[in-house]
């Protein structure tokens, strides 16, 4: 709707999905979690099962916009809008979610890594509709953290970070995933940081070095609120705090 108000989008046809049933379902199974496209932020906030089944998602949703927006904003809407500073696209990318789309050629699952192409641009075809997002199962002992900084509560983040990993019996990180948003023209995975730290113990010096390695290759956004240097420093700080918090948080 803001896109229409700003005259940034002038679609010939607008379709309201209000009367389409079945898209507001939250399914939690052994394979993971499936969120229907019409699931609202409010539904995620109020579903106590999700705090256990997808704690990183639950934490991220608390940062989305304002109360009144969380009462109406949806999973499908956020994915399709693909704002580079939005929380859900970052979670989808970091957690390797799959986006389920339906069109005249049937249904297809698009990996998040192939879904977000540019600011407000996705791999969705003009005649396709998002029906759900699938997240794989979350091990109970998994460590995680979600951090973002915005100038006021509810504003879009100047930068944000999502981190999760498992610890093996030797205290080494496994399945490390590191995501960042608000810093580039789409959410990004810091694959170099992940590669440098996977299988390592989360020692502060090694983490700091790996964070630098991951952020050095990013072409940072620059705007009136934060120039590129500031954003880089901010992201590094948020990532450092995220690793700290993930380590300190006792698994549920």
């Amino acid at each position: 709707m803001p896109m229409l108000a700003f005259r940034l989008a002038t679609p010939r046809v607008l379709v309201d999905l209000r009367r389409v049933s079945g898209l507001d379902r939250i399914h939690i199974g052994e394979q993971g979690v499936e969120l229907g496209a019409k699931v609202r932020w409010r539904d995620i906030e109020r579903d106590t099962r999700l705090a256990v089944a997808q704690p990183l998602l639950a934490e991220a949703v608390r940062h989305i916009a304002h109360y009144q927006i969380r009462n109406r904003g949806t999973v499908g809407g956020s994915l399709a809008h693909a704002d580079p500073a939005a929380e859900l696209p970052a979670i989808a990318l970091t957690c390797e979610a799959h986006i389920v789309a339906v069109g005249p050629r049937g249904e297809r699952e698009i990996p998040a890594a192939e879904f977000f192409l540019a600011p407000l641009v996705t791999a969705l075809e003009p005649d396709e509709l998002i029906v759900a997002m699938r997240l794989s199962a979350w091990p109970k002992a998994r460590r995680f953290s979600f951090k973002e900084l915005s100038r006021r509560l509810g504003d879009f983040a100047l930068a944000g970070a999502a981190v999760f990993f498992d610890l093996d019996e030797r205290g080494c990180m496994r399945a490390l995933h590191v995501g960042a948003f608000g810093v580039a023209d789409k959410p990004v995975r810091l694959l170099e940081t992940e590669a440098a730290l996977n299988g390592m113990r989360p020692e502060p010096a090694a983490v700091a070095e790996a964070i630098k390695l991951g952020t050095s290759g990013l072409e940072m956004r620059s705007d009136i609120h934060a120039d590129a240097d500031y954003r880089r420093a901010l992201l590094e700080t948020l990532l450092t705090r995220a690793f700290d918090e993930a380590m300190q948080r006792s698994p549920s």
Binding site: M1, A5, L14, D16, R42, A65, H66, N71, R72, L153
Partner: protein, 160 residues
């Protein structure tokens, strides 16, 4: 044009609306319910907040056609028989408004919050208030008024 019939402040109203007119503009221009204010028109300031099917939402981010059949409460629906609601009365006594432009959006938002969470603490109230911009009060008297009004909502909930 599409004919819609929302239930506005308890009364079913049928109105013809162009498909791309917002609920906010319809309330103000068609139905003359000008208590709903329009400022930023892109969902940031909160001035246009109304309650749709129990939830506080931005009426500038909804098209009127999406409100067909919905139960809508605007700021005009908060008082009964010319008597201020407990929340409105608390706002008056705490000087929780100055120019008043943001006030209707804050009242509707806080009304919806307290109906659902009559025990909302100061932190929760401030978090929810972050979706309503007020340039006059500095928010402190607003928070005090809402905290005080909680008792009336808790009483209503317990059926007393």
């Amino acid at each position: 044009m599409t004919s819609i019939t929302p239930i506005i402040n308890g009364v079913a109203v049928t109105v013809e609306v162009p498909d791309r007119v917002t609920l906010a503009d319809t309330l103000r221009d068609k139905l003359r319910l000008t208590g709903t204010h329009v400022a930023c028109e892109h969902g940031v300031c909160g001035a246009c907040t109304v309650i749709v099917d129990g939830l506080a939402v931005r009426s500038c981010l909804m098209l009127a056609v999406q409100a067909d059949g919905a139960a809508i409460t605007t700021v005009e629906g908060l008082s009964k028989n010319g008597k201020l609601s407990a929340l409105q009365d608390a706002f008056r006594r705490h000087h929780a408004l100055q120019c008043g432009f943001c006030t209707s959006g804050i009242l509707t938002t806080m009304h919806a919050l307290l109906l659902e969470e009559p025990d909302a603490g100061e932190h929760r109230i401030r978090e929810v208030l972050s979706g309503n911009l007020c340039r006059c009060t500095g928010y402190i008297p607003i928070v005090e008024a809402v905290l005080e009004a909680r008792a009336a909502y808790a009483q209503a909930e317990s059926g007393a």
